[in-house]
Amino acid sequence: MKSEQLAWLIRRHGIEMTHLSHGSHIASILSVADIVAVLYNDIANISPENLNDENRDRIVLSKGHAGAAIYAALAEKSFFDVEELKTHYADGSRLSGHVSHKGIPGVEISTGSLGHGACMACGIALNAKINKKPYYTYAIVGDGECDEGSIWEMALFANQFKLNQFVVIVDHNKMQSLDYCENTLSLAPFAKKWEAFGWNVFDIDGHNHDELKKALNDAKQSLDKPTVIIANTVKGKGVSFMESDILWHYRFPHEGEEYDGALNELHASMPNGVVDPYEEAKK
């Protein structure tokens, strides 16, 4: 599978999961899809076969509300059955809206309250440093999440302890729950803030898979600094009417023109070699 194909499938599952469950955060799922796809497909050494290997890479979704993107990636990578994705949010389901590790192979930790996962990931990365383990720890953080003070506590710590096998990827979609970041608590100059905290910084297009792969591979050259990849993204990416519209932080794609319109747009941008799993099921 190519990462572009996985990213498409994450978006397709995200639409279906939030549609079925009337769940929130579709715009965040669409925004983070490329980051998640590249990590699971091309970068992180993690598979259903090596889950107990202490040298496996760790991926932590600190912006837990985009959990559907992780579930979709894991299901497509055979960590569990794709069919289970339909239970997202449902009574008795283990696929909670915010990502959960309980009973779900491949999820390292549960998150949901912002500013926690990145710090736990920092602890996991510290463990690699202490025990001289080769694994990398990847934490996917939201830009709105960077309002949390704990993120900056973590930023100081990771620099102090020279956690060069720790990579934070910020899904910088410029929006948070109620408004643009800039109108809430401005992060600018964002890259300079991380630089000032002593981090190795990449400022890239977070939907461009080549740029993501290059930055994630270049991060491995760092000998004494943690790396942050500021992945500039568009909230709602891939469905034009959801893009950069605050409405879609919480709204789910309703039956009718919203759901159909989203699918039409996704199908129009479908990479070669991908089969829509839901179309397939209907046949």
């Binding site: 202490e54 590790h101 390292e108 930790i109 549960s110 998150t111 949901g112 309250s113 500013g115 926690h116 710090c119 736990m120 990931a121 920092c122 602890g123 996991i124 990365a125 510290l126 463990n127 202490i130 025990n131 003070g149 704990s150 506590e153 973590m154 100081l156 710590f157 102090q160 302890f161």
Partner: protein, 305 residues
């Protein structure tokens, strides 16, 4: 008590290289023996308790046993959600250690009075809550939480606590320790305020008043059997804690009594009367000021004897 903790943990950590202390930039002098001997097993996370606690959870989930260390409310209330979500929910082997439970830092002011921590920590599922009453209990509790899987809270006094027990042969998490068998009234004490209870008992004995006395080094899980047994054999149970009335040790005992069959004992709680202290002073002074000292215990025992 804090020195006993550090000495005991140092012995454990020498044998187990997976044992770590993560301090929130506190423990000057106190942590020195550990720092000198095992510098590789101690981390200063800076004045950043949220990150400290999450880091500890992250380390613990990779197989380490991590003691977070700070004073007063900093290792608990400041980062309570990190303890809940990152430690307890993940069954992480994190041992939260507070030096200065109650009015230990009395003169430093309200910010440093740890007087709601037992209630708040006790409210969290999958957190064991331990408050040793003297130096021997502190050493035993330090060993016991090391072997107790998951997240634990160890509430310590500071220094200068007495050794009241000679030794404890069979220290168990969740088990109260009998100090003396008496009659009519049973006094239950948790934490370093055992000092006051001990002093009260000596005074009372001179007058021929001899209550039963237990210490409860574990607040959660609470020793239901001992509570119910005592409630059947005594007219009154008096709980003593250096903590607020709401939700603390006395409340834990009340919960057991409220649901028990065939118990008649009245419950009297010696605790802070649901208030913060704007008055400062030594621990001893504040205990007296707020009616949780030996004299208060003596009065309550006499009233109910």
């Amino acid at each position: 008590m804090r020195d006993t903790f550090v000495k005991t943990l140092l012995d454990i950590a020498k044998k187990d290289k997976n044992v770590y202390i993560v301090t929130g930039d506190l423990g000057f002098g106190v942590l020195k023996p550990f720092w000198d001997e095992l510098p590789e097993q101690i981390i200063n996370a800076g004045i950043a308790e949220q990150n400290m606690t999450s880091i500890a959870a992250g380390l613990a989930m990779q197989g380490k046993v991590v003691y977070t260390y700070s004073i007063g409310n900093f290792p608990t209330l400041r980062c309570i959600e990190q303890i809940r979500n990152d430690c307890a929910y993940h069954s992480a082997n994190v041992k939260v250690v507070c030096v200065g439970g109650g009015f230990v830092y009395g003169s430093l002011g309200m910010s440093h009075h740890a007087t709601e921590d037992l209630a708040i920590m006790r409210a969290l599922p999958d957190v064991t809550v331990v408050a040793p009453g003297d130096l021997v209990e502190a050493a035993e509790a330090t060993k016991a939480i090391y072997t107790t899987p998951g997240t634990c809270y160890l509430r310590l006094g500071r220094g200068g606590e007495k050794q009241i027990h000679n030794k404890i042969d069979d220290f168990k998490i969740g088990k109260a320790i009998k100090i003396k068998t008496g009659k009519n009234v049973a006094v239950f004490s948790t934490g370093a305020i055992f000092d006051e209870v001990d002093e009260a008992c000596h005074e009372l004995e001179k007058e021929g008043i001899t209550p039963t006395v237990y210490t409860f080094p574990t607040v959660k899980p609470i020793d239901k059997d001992t509570i119910i047994e005592c409630a059947k054999e005594h007219k009154a149970i008096i709980t003593v804690e250096e903590h607020n009335l709401s939700g603390g040790f006395g409340s834990a005992v009340a919960e057991v009594l409220a649901e028990a069959d065939d118990v008649k004992a009245k419950l009297v709680r010696v605790a802070l009367d649901d208030r913060y202290s704007c008055i400062v002073g030594s621990q001893k002074y504040l205990r007296k000021q707020y009616g949780i000292d030996a004299q208060a215990v003596i009065a309550k025992v006499k009233e109910n004897y």
